[in-house]
């Protein structure tokens, strides 16, 4: 298991330039991933977060280091901002042994337990019960951590969502349910998956407080999630946050996008979280084009280094195939398996 690395001292979370820089880091990393997918370096399923960066960025800045995070298959940004080194993420997508899941998981299963990042779950709704359980562990152990659980609006139709919401509310578990509502689950629009499209009404049916934020506005996300997380931390009770966002790219690299109009996508792109936030910062006098370019260049440098790292990283030997199916102590019970 990885050792926790010493915390770097960095500017306060939520500080505008860091929010912007982190959105850029996600964006540039993912653009590179798309390119590498085309080149066959990254394979399997690849779900890009492009367009939604304000959500993970605002939310991760709002969480404390000791908080736990559970995410979905669309989790590159969450992993990165939780502190998983881009090198390790990129190597994972290459399937290399230096990947954050040793090449076993790939794009959909980024893990870093030392940073309380519990994946990377490719079963829609599958992370929600886990999050309730992590929070239950904290509650029973007297920890005041929050467990933030990210999922798409598509997950709300799954029984797992409801069972988890109820358990968390009933048992007063410190879970922050973060629904990234990008209006589509693959090709299924929200209005074709939910009879009630006001998602906060779902929380109300569990007696759970809910919050809503414009998921294209990183400051709004940061402020809303900060409030919600504080409430969870102080009350020990769960809360629900809906982040209204949009994905600019296809669901995965296989999606022909038959189900939505190009015009709708273009319309949303005008609200792109990076350019709208940088425009805002410039208008506020908090950013110059030079600084923007420098942040972007730094992101690009980080990406290039990550790709180089991943390229150079070793493959796991095939002889290790059966490793990590079971933990080491299992050998204690007679040893033969």
């Amino acid at each position: 298991m990885k050792k926790r690395q010493p915390t770097q001292s960095r500017p306060a979370a939520g500080e505008p330039q860091r929010l912007l820089a982190d959105m850029l880091r996600i964006r540039r990393m993912e653009e590179k991933c798309a390119e590498l997918y085309g080149a066959g370096k990254i394979r399997g399923f690849l779900h890009l977060y492009i367009g939604e960066e304000a959500c993970a960025t605002g939310a991760m800045h709002a969480l404390a280091e000791e908080d736990r995070v559970v995410a979905t298959y669309r989790e590159h940004g969450h992993a990165l901002l939780r502190g998983v080194p881009m090198d390790a993420i990129m190597a994972e997508m290459f399937g290399k042994a230096s990947g954050c899941s040793r090449g076993r998981g790939g794009s959909m299963h980024l893990f870093d337990v030392s940073r309380h990042f519990y994946g990377g779950n490719a079963i829609v709704g599958g992370g929600l019960p886990l999050a309730a359980g992590l929070a239950l562990a904290d509650k029973l152990q007297g920890e005041s951590r929050v467990t933030a659980c990210f999922f798409g609006e598509g997950a709300i139709a799954e029984g797992a969502f409801h069972e988890s919401m109820n358990l968390a509310a009933l048992w007063a578990l410190p879970v922050l349910f973060c629904c990234e509502n990008n209006l589509y689950a693959m090709g299924t629009a929200l209005s074709r998956s939910e009879s009630q499209t006001d998602l906060c009404a779902k929380a109300a049916s569990y007696n759970m407080d809910s919050f809503r934020a414009d998921g294209m506005d990183v400051r709004a996300v940061f402020e809303t999630v900060s409030r919600a997380a504080n409430q969870v931390r102080e009350s020990g009770r769960p809360a629900f946050v809906e982040l209204q966002t949009y994905r600019f790219r296809a669901h995965s690299m296989f999606d022909p996008e038959l189900y939505r109009d190009k015009a709708e996508v273009e319309q949303w792109k005008t609200r792109g979280p990076i350019h709208s936030f940088s425009a805002q910062l410039k208008a506020e006098g908090l950013l110059t084009e030079d600084v923007f370019l420098a942040l972007d260049a730094a992101a690009q440098v980080e990406v290039d280094a990550a790709v180089a790292f991943a390229e150079a990283a070793p493959w796991e030997p095939e002889a290790d195939l059966l490793k990590d199916v079971h933990g080491p102590a299992a050998v204690a019970h007679g040893g033969r398996r």
């Binding site: 399937g95 090449g103 079963i123 689950a185 693959m186 195939l321």
Partner: protein, 326 residues
């Protein structure tokens, strides 16, 4: 003219929808998205949203609704996007679909077809690479099919819909792009969903397999033939009820058997086949039966590790050669 496995499945769906107003297709993204594996592409335009019904993400709910709709007089085809997500629907498949006829003393009929994608090989990692056909093949009250050829992809749906009981059809993810000429219509129209097929006759050993491993077994047979070893290839086609006669007849001819199955070895369907052979044909065997299955590990993402985990042609060839001491 060649058609792909995917096109053959789509033609079968189109025909079923056109011929019987009770037939409808429902599942996640079967409509507007065009089907995750593009099988149902175009059908929404042709048959409309009532009959090509996109469902919310709720496998337990919509599979159960399929059971109810079948009870209510329809002939639903439910697509569970992949076998991996079918774990969420197993209660309705086992405790409702499979049991209702019996529990009701024969009153209820559930003429339901459930299609799902199975198998690994596309680097989708552990949660998206299951092969659990053996679980389904264990359950009384359902029929389980595994089309491994274009002709079966085209032919199996109609008799499955005609079955008065639930039928599960497993489409292997690696077969969709398989292309082949369809046999003459008369032949695939007579598609039998109770028998295994001898895909290649041979004398020195029987390779028994199904689904995504059939092409591997055929290739292994080719490679063996090139070295002068003549093996028979049996495609189970029907995983429940098993066609034990065809299996036994083959073993009695060849006296040696290798079962190839993408499932994990322990508790695999291959194990059941080996057990039946040991029970029914023990004295016909000239060598211990063998299995080539997946390694007992969740399927890893990395390409070379995934390949190492899954049955490969070279392993099949090696198993036959070892068995023949060559």
């Amino acid at each position: 003219m060649k058609v792909s496995y995917r096109e053959a499945l789509r033609e079968a769906l189109r025909e079923a929808l056109a011929q019987d107003p009770r037939v409808f297709l429902m599942g996640e993204d079967v409509g507007r998205y065009g089907g995750t594996y593009a099988v149902s592409k175009g059908l929404l335009d042709e048959f409309g949203p009532d009959r090509i019904r996109d469902t919310p993400l709720s496998e337990l709910g919509f599979v159960g609704a399929g059971v109810g709709a079948a009870l209510g007089g329809m002939r639903p085809i439910v697509e569970v996007m992949t076998i991996n997500f079918s774990l969420l629907a197993l209660d309705q498949i086992v405790n409702s679909a499979a049991l209702l006829r019996h529990m009701s003393g024969g009153q209820c009929a559930v003429p339901l077809v459930i299609r799902m994608v199975t198998g690994a090989g596309r680097q989708l990692a552990a949660q998206h690479s299951h092969s659990l056909e053996n679980w389904y093949a264990h359950i009384p009250g359902i029929r389980v099919l595994a089309p491994a050829t274009v002709a079966d992809a085209r032919g199996m749906l109609a008799p499955a819909l005609a079955d008065p009981d639930p039928v599960i059809i497993f489409e292997h993810a690696q077969l969709y792009n398989l292309e082949d000429a369809l046999p003459v219509e008369r032949v695939w129209r007579a598609c039998d969903i109770s028998r295994a097929a001898v895909r290649r006759t041979g004398t020195q050993a029987s390779l028994i397999t199904y689904g995504g491993c059939l092409p591997k077994a055929m290739q292994a047979a080719d490679e063996l033939a090139a070295t002068g070893i003549d093996v028979e290839v049996i495609d189970l086609r029907v995983l429940r009820p098993l066609d034990l006669d065809t299996i036994a007849a083959s073993v009695r001819r060849t006296h040696r058997v290798v079962v190839v199955d993408e499932g994990w070895k322990t508790g695999s369907l291959a194990g059941e086949i080996v057990a039946r052979i040991a029970e029914d044909c023990l004295y016909d065997l000239d060598a211990p039966p063998r299995r080539v299955c997946s390694a007992e590990v969740p399927i890893p993402y990395a390409r070379h590790m995934e390949a190492a985990a899954l049955p490969q042609v070279a392993q099949i060839v090696a198993a036959v050669k070892e068995m023949l001491n060559v």
